[in-house]
């Protein structure tokens, strides 16, 4: 006769007895199960949030770019005649072009004493632009010479209504302009002013002006200075860029570039990439911890259920059914986790997407978490949980019924070198119990510590961001940029103009600086940078070396940021080629005379006199850095707004304020989220591990109570072990946190900025404090069980 399992035999009844056992087990374990499910839920929620936001941003961007025909290639030049356009269209792969006139101008806004900056862009009179089509959000497009359309964010930040007026200093002429409409554009999803670190919608805006008016204002009749291009599907972008460069060279071309270097798109891409890497780095940590917790709890259950397993087998249940029974129990925990995580993740993704929509200027947000993302996270959660439970389930399946119904052999302890050491140290027996138990189950102890370490690491790696940004702010504003404002000139001015600046009201100090777009080449590698020139001993804008001290670019050489040198593969002493995109587009060789630590941008620096000498000209400047007497600020703004040679004024304090505001908003939220996550992990690990300790040691602890040990002394064993593991976990957590921080700092590094690896001792202390306190609370919850222990009952039962 073929043996048939009881399950197949009794298929008639709806609920099997073994299933009822499953439900009852689950009911009994609900608190432990919930603790695990919550950790799992964190993983699911983060995965959903990151993936949901990733898809939302990616879909929205794609739709926006397509609908509004965002250009694929951009090129800027001094002045290009429109007659060149047919040659551009002849370049293989070029589909359409959108020539524009653009320029920066100082704005004088009503009710605002500080000067603001506007990027003016020409808007075709007759038809819509072919590329980079703005979406009109209110009002109408500008037609008359004094009409403009501004970005919605700029209008909102300044409280502008349609019909409001403001003044602009357009190429030396003060002009009154009227707002006829507000718009958004795929070009300016992320709008950042010149020299700014963060968007400042109050102080910087995009302004569309009728083409004819722009041509008149910037002296560009029959010409353009910026071109957007779209490419055909078969185009090779690099070839197009090369052809454009040679075509625009005679017209002061600043180098053609693709979307990857378009400011708004590259910020957005960096953000989307971060979300993507977050989806793949963070959730696995949670899944691993919950797998470990499930494994820990399941092995304990299997140990406790030994006799029952033997009985079930004796009754004829197959190994597979037993194995499935325990896997199902783990699955139920996983389902609870998936349910909580999905709900939380959906809410969080939606909330975060709105936060992003505020930070980035999208006209709409295509928000949907695709079904496959839910399916994937649910699958990942189930898979890891089952993997965690597999070992215990297999042990249950492999137990021979006759052996299973006998009590398990007592745990084996053996004399080791450590024991002799402990003997010599005259430790209390209860202390020895704690130490031996940790040593007896080294893997379990190590994993418990590792789980708690992960919690510490989570706090550290989140606070690392704020520490790093504090360092960036300090270095940028207190060490490097110490000027109150940067005065931008429309074109390079002789140094003698500094005297005029110093004569303005409120200007206490003024120093010259030059900025040049340049391509640096070393061997096969090249990099487009902004080359800065400043005098030796400059006090207001300085280059800071790795040692935190100001360094001057040595005369006769070029100073590079470490990251730039690394990207060029060049070292101090190497000779690099510098091609200037400005002026006569000269090419010079320069020796790398030093390296500097830089967090923002790819810096390259020379001494201003050395540069003028190379370029064979009298001393010049394109920017002046000034220190302002606060009391005369209004007077200064007043006179600057009337000064024709200025193209802009950047107030560093406002820059800093905008930067700090944005950072603080994000940091506070992120820190809170990670602290909660750390607490949840700690509760999950510490509570479960203490529960298991309690269950395994009930007899031992009861023995101690009978021998006359007080409750406090007995709970000392339980708390001692849990807290010792938690304390051991701290240095591991610090290392892990430092390592994750380093990984994050690496993955967040782009051409735009570096996040320095700053590890502040206070952040480590805070992380440990949170985790240790949470561990203690978790263990104290379990400790109450010692108080309720029935001594007689425990001692009467055979283990």
């Amino acid at each position: 006769m073929i043996p048939v399992s009881p399950r197949t035999r009794s298929r008639g009844s709806a609920v099997q007895a073994i299933d009822i056992k499953l439900l009852r087990d689950f009911q009994r374990l609900w608190l432990q199960g919930l603790a695990i499910a919550i950790v799992l839920a964190c993983g699911v929620a983060i995965l959903l949030t990151a993936m949901g936001m990733f898809t939302a941003l990616d879909d929205t961007r794609q739709a926006y770019y397509e609908r509004n025909r965002f250009a694929e290639v951009f090129v800027e030049a001094n002045r290009v005649p429109r007659t060149l356009l047919p040659s551009v269209l002849d370049i293989p792969g070029v589909q359409s072009v959108e020539p524009r006139v653009q320029g920066i101008a100082i704005l004088d806004l009503p009710d605002r004493t500080e000067t603001a900056l506007g990027r003016f862009i020409s808007f075709p009179a007759s038809q819509e632009p072919t590329l980079n089509i703005p979406i009109l959000r209110s009002g109408v497009t500008p037609e008359a010479a004094d009409e403009v359309m501004v970005t919605t964010a700029f209008a909102e930040a300044n409280g502008f209504e349609i019909g409001d007026r403001f003044h602009a200093n357009l190429n030396g002429q003060r002009q009154e302009l009227m707002i006829t409409g507000t718009a958004m554009s795929p070009e300016f999803i992320y709008t950042i002013g010149p020299g700014a670190l963060m968007p400042d919608n109050e102080g910087f805006g995009i302004i569309w002006m009728p083409e004819a008016a722009m041509e008149a204002a910037f002296d560009m009749q029959g010409a353009f200075n910026q071109l957007g291009l779209s490419l055909s599907a078969d185009a090779v972008e690099a070839d197009v860029l090369d052809r454009l460069d040679s075509l625009f060279d005679p017209y002061g071309g600043l180098g053609a570039y693709g979307r990857d270097r378009q400011v708004s798109d590259s910020f957005l891409t960096a953000e989307i990439d971060q979300l993507n890497s977050m989806a793949f780095i963070v959730p696995p940590v949670f899944f691993a911890i919950s797998a470990f917790l499930v494994g820990m709890v399941m092995s304990r259950i299997v140990t406790l259920d030994r006799a029952e397993i033997g009985l079930l087998k004796a009754l004829g249940y197959s190994d597979v059914e037993i194995c499935l029974h325990y896997l199902l129990l783990a699955l139920m925990i996983a389902l609870v986790g998936i349910l909580i995580g999905s709900g939380l993740g959906t809410l969080l993704a939606r909330a975060m997407a709105w936060q992003y929509a505020r930070f980035f200027d999208f006209p709409y947000l295509i928000f949907r978490v695709p079904a496959w993302v839910y399916a994937m996270s649910a699958f990942a959660a189930m898979l890891t949980t089952m993997l965690g439970a597999l070992r215990a389930a297999l042990i249950a399946a492999r137990l021979a019924p006759a052996i299973a119904m006998q009590p398990p052999a007592p745990p084996h302890f053996r004399q080791t070198v450590l024991d002799r050491l402990m003997g010599r140290m005259q430790l209390r027996q209860t202390t020895i119990m704690v130490l031996r138990s940790i040593l007896r189950w080294p893997i379990r102890s190590a994993l418990t510590s590792l789980g708690i370490a992960a919690a510490t690491a989570a706090v550290i790696s989140s606070s690392f961001m704020s520490d790093a940004l504090a360092r960036v702010i300090d270095l940028a504003f207190n060490q490097s940029y110490r000027q109150d404002a940067m005065v931008l000139f429309t074109e390079e001015r002789p140094l003698s103009a500094l005297a005029d600046l110093r004569a303005l009201p409120g200007v206490l100090q003024a120093e010259p600086q030059q900025f040049h777009s340049a391509t640096l080449r070393y061997g096969p590698r090249e990099k487009d940078v902004s080359l800065e020139a400043r005098p030796v001993g400059a006090e207001l804008s300085r280059v800071i070396g790795d040692d935190g001290r100001a360094i001057d670019p040595p005369a006769g050489g070029i100073l590079l940021s470490e990251r730039l040198a690394e990207q060029l593969g060049a070292m101090v002493g190497d000779v690099i080629e510098v091609e200037f995109m400005t002026g006569q587009r000269e090419i010079h060789s320069m020796v790398i005379s030093g390296l500097a630590e830089q967090y923002l941008g790819l810096g390259a620096y020379v001494e201003i006199g050395f540069l003028d000498q190379k370029l064979r000209r009298s001393p010049q400047m394109s920017v002046a850095n000034i220190v302002i007497d606060e009391r005369e600020l209004d007077a200064l703004h007043g006179s600057l707004q009337q000064t024709p040679i200025l193209s802009g004024l950047i107030m560093m304090n406002e820059n800093r304020r905008a930067f700090e505001e944005t950072i603080n908003q994000n940091v506070v939220v992120i820190n809170a989220v990670y602290a909660i996550i750390a607490v949840l992990i700690t509760v999950g690990v510490a509570y479960n591990s203490a529960r298991i300790q309690m269950s395994e040691r009930a007899r031992e602890l009861a023995s101690l109570r009978i021998l006359g040990f007080t409750r406090r002394e007995v709970s000392g064993v339980l708390i001692g072990e849990a807290m010792l593991l938690a304390v051991i976990a701290q240095p591991i957590g610090w290392l892990l946190g430092a390592w994750i921080s380093a990984a994050l700092s690496n993955s967040f590094t782009s051409d735009l900025y570096t996040i320095p690896l700053v590890l502040a001792p206070s952040s480590f202390a805070r992380a440990s404090l949170i985790v240790l306190a949470t561990s203690l609370v978790s263990v104290l919850l379990v400790r109450r069980r010692i108080d309720r222990m029935d001594l007689v009952a425990v001692m009467k039962t055979r283990e």
Binding site: A409, P410, P411, H412, F413, R414, Q415, D419, R428, Q429, T430, I432, M433, R436, S437, R440, R699, E700, A702, S703, L704, R705, I706, L707, G708, F709, T710, R711, L791, V792, M795, K796, R798, E799
Partner: protein, 232 residues
């Protein structure tokens, strides 16, 4: 007199029925005596031992240990009482598996007011050569002897033994009883042994029989036999 009980009653409420585990028990146990409490399963002997040992509370009645009224004491006081005066021996040894034989004994000598040396206690039970062995490395008889060493090491005034030979074969059981007898005679510890093994009564000074929570009889042994002569 070591123990005196007066109308000692213990009622367990199981569901709707009430079980009188002890029903107005009056008993006196004397200094230096080895008493055996005999009775069938459910006769109340374990309950009596647990109350005498301060592990359980009485429902009514009184218990005195010398001048100390146990029935008037709170949990903290009972812990102190167990720590200072009582040694326990159980059927299932209840050793701490993570501590060696010597360390299990030290568990007690570290906290007791007037203990003997852990090594000496183990020497007394014939385990002087297995001091550093862990419970898992010892046989059942050896483990029970470690439990006895742990119980006597604090030089307790009373030793309460709940089925001390219950899990052992006759040969090792006899060894364990020899140790109890020796402790009783050399240190003068009062010993109360509860068992359902009627053979053991032959080595007692007095035999107390319990049935249905009441004392059925108290007999004094005129002639005591040595453990090795006990018919198992």
């Amino acid at each position: 007199m070591v123990f005196r009980t007066e109308a000692l009653t213990k009622v367990y409420a199981t569901g709707e029925t009430q079980v009188h585990a002890l029903d107005h028990v009056d008993l006196e146990l004397f200094e230096g005596e080895l008493a055996v409490l005999l009775g069938a399963s459910g006769s109340g002997k374990s309950t009596l031992l647990n109350i005498l040992g301060g592990l359980d509370h009485a429902s009514s009645g009184h218990v005195w240990f010398r001048d100390l009224e146990l029935t008037a004491m709170r949990d903290r006081g009972l812990t102190r009482y167990r720590r200072d005066h009582v040694g326990f021996i159980f059927q299932f040894y209840n050793l701490v598996p993570s501590l060696s034989a010597r360390e299990n004994v030290k568990l007690v000598t570290d906290v007791a007011p007037n203990p003997m040396k852990a090594g000496d206690a183990l020497e007394m039970v014939g385990l002087g050569h297995r001091l550093d062995h862990f419970p898992a490395e010892l046989s059942g008889g050896e483990q029970q002897r470690v439990a006895i060493a742990r119980a006597i090491a604090k030089q307790p005034e009373v030793l309460l033994c709940d089925e001390p030979t219950g899990a052992l074969d006759s040969k090792t059981g006899v060894q364990v009883l020899e140790v109890l007898k020796e402790v009783n005679e050399t240190i003068g510890t009062s010993i109360i042994v509860i068992t359902h093994n009627a053979g053991i009564q032959a080595m007692a000074h007095r035999v107390v029989r319990l049935a249905d929570g009441k004392i059925a009889s108290v007999d004094v042994n005129d002639t005591r036999v040595a453990p090795h002569e006990i018919a198992w």
